[in-house]
Amino acid sequence: MPTAAVSTEPLHAVTVTVNGRAETLHVPARRSLLQALREDLSLTGTKEGCAVGTCGACTVLLDGRPVLACLLLTVQAGGRAVETIESLSRDGALAPIQEAFVRHDALQCGFCTPGQIMALEGLLRRTPHPSDELLRRALEGNVCRCGTQLRIQAAARELAGAAAHHPGGGPVAAEAARDRTSSHDVRRSR
């Protein structure tokens, strides 16, 4: 395991729930949650695009809400629940939100994609049927250099709109997305 900290830095024991599992980490105070996820827990689906909070590539959910993992110290995440892109798929099967991204070609190089998906996931959990304007705003902070913005909008609109227009029984993917959303809502509500 890579050692990010040099020997002179004091380490802090922090327990974070990551993707439903309690993880105890020993980290220097300055170690970001992004570094801890990637280097200590090998969860490299969360990407580093800038490390200074300007691109959204490292978006994860903290207690169900999207945050930038590069701006959060690992010690600040103690006792809280973190969800990363790896938590969405189950047994290798993509979640409906991920399937929608693939179906709409809402990714090119794919490097910003996990952050885009987590930002959208965070929005849809709070607001299952957002307006187009709200969708765009929720993703405004997620930089994509390849130019997938319109494809992401299409995927997001399908996820948001299909459920709205077919409340009783929409397309399978959209319905699954809604089920998933509500189950998370239940789990997160406090």
């Binding site: 900290a5 040099v6 090119q108 250099r145 130019g147």
Partner: protein, 782 residues
């Protein structure tokens, strides 16, 4: 028996003579009327699940056991000499394993001998001074601050026109002009042409430094096993990296393996090996540990390449009916401190429109700024701003429809190389785009600048010319496994374009398999050679090789089936993954039944890319129409819609095509309106160190984009009839937007990015001029 022939090959806007090895006969070209099962239908990315799932491992994601992290100390000065360097403090810092600098690293020549791996003379703010290697990235960066450097600061120059002055600081021993002289081109008699002209239009265009800002920064991991080196690299050119590293380290090429299975964007900035890879390799050899160097976003802003700024002046002479009789063009490209090849700024002016008298001159000028790099259609995006904005200014001057003016000057053949085009369906593209965009709604450009009133709409157009033919060499292997599944091996890269998917479609098509049965393996120099993923060449270079490999595997399947089914091979049909005897429907077996019977005897095919047809020029073509809304009181521009139509030959994957078009348009949109990589002239340092200060298009800025394709296969270009689509869609976007703004408010602002401030300034300046005399619409002196 292979033979070598000499051909003119186009790459990234430049034509050069190259030796081409002809190995044998190419396949017959897919006919225009041929019907396909998978080719030409939209297919979702075959690696979409890996990328969207967060499973895909990019170079940045690899942390091999025992990893050491490297960080690079960079010059704070635009031009300086290192008087003294002391790394002792850094070497003693906690966690530090090694420090490399000119004091202890081998003097490997770099930038074609203009400099070295570590040079004591530093020519841009950001140039490498030393590298620290430590147990963690944070430790390496901490220690970097303990390096003491005594710099002798030297006078610098960051403006390319200033660098041309006789008394400018001399950046290289050979002077400040790349190649020592401008690149010149002449045909016909330009003076006579202007003498015959009824009208002339002159225009100055300036384009800014633009950053690639790939989301995955530049970086490598190097690991030695004995005397063998493995490199994981975020690169567009694994074979290039292998060759360069073998040369730099003086080791045989077969001792170097380069891997790049997933890559987070490049746009031309990752076309070759860079110093960080060599530094990681040197440190890894010394420390006997894997070493990783990844750029920070700030390093990406100062030392990862850029589209260099241009200053251009163009003069068009035309007859009253719009026929061009003369084009004079001068371009200056500020290529930064290092660049091996010039920026082909004059490409569009030389070739896009029919004109008998043309003279162009391009100066590629070194400055004390970060090195430039190819960036998606280098030179042509900039050159199109000059040419196509001048064309619409000319149309406005003559009271002609800009589309009609372009059709009047339609070039049926290549006037530069004096030969025909393999195909040119630009007329069709104009027609499709004009209808989709509602071009007939365009109203005349206001004669005087519009300074008041509410937002005004405008329509503008620009054409696109570019290469994208691809060429040999490229090779591929296809293996049909015992269960009937297929592996394609090819040493290309998928830098986000969807190459993996398109190549899988081609193999699946030939072998009549569902695409799920095909896996394309790429990004590994253990696989057959393929060229760099640049120049819009991947599908046009690699696709034909994959087809040939699949066709060979198909032939072997048919021949083997013939022996099992006791029929002549010519009577065997391969359809829907089944082999049968023609006219005897019950004598059949599935591909997997056949390969299953064979056990580990493997059906395989090898393919190569044939040579391009000789004596014909292969080009991609296209047109964009921009519809904008401009607020004349604030200068704000809102792009409503970009309609794009391109002729790129046969489209393998319409879904991937649309994504490429949208991506190019959105990058062009950023270049037109907001992106600006700023170097402070006084200090020579970069002012934008990341996304907070370098403005790229975000969700709210992206307009509607209609992506149309002419979709007609090229009849001779290669065995698939394909051309490239990566670069064409960025080329016309900025010029089309500038023209649309002019059509809306009556001033043509050709200094990019066209910010509200520049538009307001132009409106005020032009209306000042209009007060003294009635201003012709069109070019605004800037």
């Amino acid at each position: 028996m292979p033979k070598i022939v000499r051909q003119k090959i186009e790459f990234e806007g430049r034509v050069e003579e190259r030796d081409v090895v002809l190995e044998g006969d190419d396949l017959p070209i897919w006919k225009a009327e041929q019907s396909f099962r998978i080719v030409g239908t939209p297919v979702a990315r075959v690696d979409g699940a890996e990328r969207a799932g967060g499973i895909a491992q990019y170079t940045a994601d690899l942390y091999p056991a025992g990893l050491i992290f490297g960080a690079v100390l960079r010059s704070p000065h635009a031009r300086a000499r290192i008087r003294r360097l002391d790394t002792a403090g850094a070497e003693r810092a906690p966690g530090v394993r090694a420090v490399l600098s000119h004091l202890n690293a081998p003097g490997i020549p770099w930038y074609n001998g203009l400099s070295a791996l570590f040079d004591v003379e530093l020519r841009y703010a950001g140039e490498e001074v030393a590298a620290v290697f430590a147990d963690g990235a944070a430790a390496a960066r901490d220690a970097m601050e303990l390096i003491e450097v005594d710099y002798e600061v030297l006078p610098h120059v960051v403006d390319p026109e200033a660098a041309l002055a006789p008394d400018a600081p001399k950046i290289h021993a050979g002077g400040n002009v790349l190649g020592g002289a401008p690149e010149q081109y002449t045909r016909g008699d330009v003076e006579r042409g202007f003498g015959d002209a009824d009208v002339t239009v002159e225009l100055r265009a300036e384009t800014q430094d633009v950053l690639h800002h790939s989301m995955e920064t530049h970086g490598s991991i190097c690991e030695w096993t004995g005397d063998r080196l493995t490199i994981w690299d975020s690169t567009q050119h694994i074979f290039g990296v292998r060759r360069q590293l073998a040369a730099a380290l003086r080791i045989p090429m077969d001792h170097v393996r380069v891997l790049s299975r997933f890559m987070g964007g490049g746009f031309g900035s990752k076309n070759q090996a860079a110093k960080y890879t060599v530094l990681a390799a040197l440190a890894a050899r010394r420390l006997r540990r894997p070493v990783k160097i990844m750029f920070t976003r700030a390093e990406e802003s100062i030392a990862a390449g850029k589209r260099p700024r241009s200053v251009q002046r163009i003069r068009l002479g035309a007859r009253r009916d719009g026929r061009l009789v003369a084009i004079e063009y001068r371009g200056v490209s500020g290529v930064g401190a290092y660049r091996a090849i010039g920026t082909p700024l004059a490409g569009p002016a030389k070739e896009l429109y029919a004109c008998p008298n043309v003279r162009t001159e391009v100066w590629n000028v070194f400055t004390n700024t970060g090195p430039s790099a190819a960036f998606r259609a280098p030179g042509f995006v900039e050159g199109t701003v000059a040419l196509d904005c001048a064309m619409e200014a000319l149309a406005d001057r003559l009271g002609l429809d800009p589309l009609a003016l372009r059709l009047t000057n339609y070039a049926p053949a290549d006037q530069v190389l004096d030969r025909g085009y393999s195909s040119k369906f630009l007329r069709e593209a104009y027609d499709m785009a004009a209808r989709a965009a509602g071009w007939s709604r365009r109203t005349r450009t206001p004669q005087a600048p519009v300074r008041t009133g509410g937002p005004r709409r405008g329509l503008g157009m620009a054409s696109q010319i570019w290469g994208g033919a691809g060429s040999a060499p490229a090779y591929a292997e296809v293996r049909v496994n015992a269960d009937g599944s297929v592996d394609v091996r090819i040493g290309t890269q998928d830098i986000g374009t969807g190459a993996r998917t398109a190549l899988a479609q081609i193999a699946a098509e030939v072998l009549t398999l569902p695409i799920e049965r095909v896996t394309v393996r790429l990004g590994d120099t253990d696989f057959p050679y393929s060229p760099l993923s640049a120049g819009s060449q991947t599908i046009a270079s690699c696709g034909p090789a994959v087809r040939m490999a699949a066709e060979e595997a198909r032939r072997h399947l048919v021949e083997t089936a013939a022996s099992v089914l006791e029929a002549a091979p010519s009577d065997i049909r391969l359809e829907a993954a089944g082999l049968s005897v023609a006219g005897v429907p019950d004598r059949k077996l599935a591909v997997h039944e056949l390969t299953g019977r064979m056990g580990n005897f493997t059906i395989a095919g090898r393919g190569f890319r044939g040579a391009n047809p000789d004596n014909v020029t292969i080009r991609t073509w296209g047109v964009h129409i921009a519809e904008v809304e401009v607020d004349p009181e604030t200068g704000e521009v809102r792009v409503i819609k970009i309609t794009a139509c391109h002729d790129v030959g046969r489209v393998i994957n319409p879904m991937g095509y649309r994504s490429q078009i949208e991506g190019g348009v959105i990058q062009g949109l950023g270049m037109a309106l907001c992106e600006d990589h700023v170097t402070d002239p006084d200090s020579g340092t970069v002012m934008d160190l990341g996304f907070d200060t370098y403005a790229m298009p975000r969700q709210s800025m992206v307009p509607e984009i209609e992506a149309l394709a002419v979709g007609r296969p090229d009849p001779v270009a290669n065995n698939l009839g394909v051309k490239g689509v990566g670069e064409p869609p960025i080329i016309p976007t900025p010029a089309a937007i500038v023209n649309a703004v002019a059509n809306a408010v009556g001033v043509r602002v050709t200094s990019l990015p066209i910010t509200p401030a520049k538009i307001l300034r132009a409106l005020h300046a032009a209306s000042g001029a209009a007060a003294s005399k009635p201003a012709p619409s069109g070019a605004v002196p800037s």
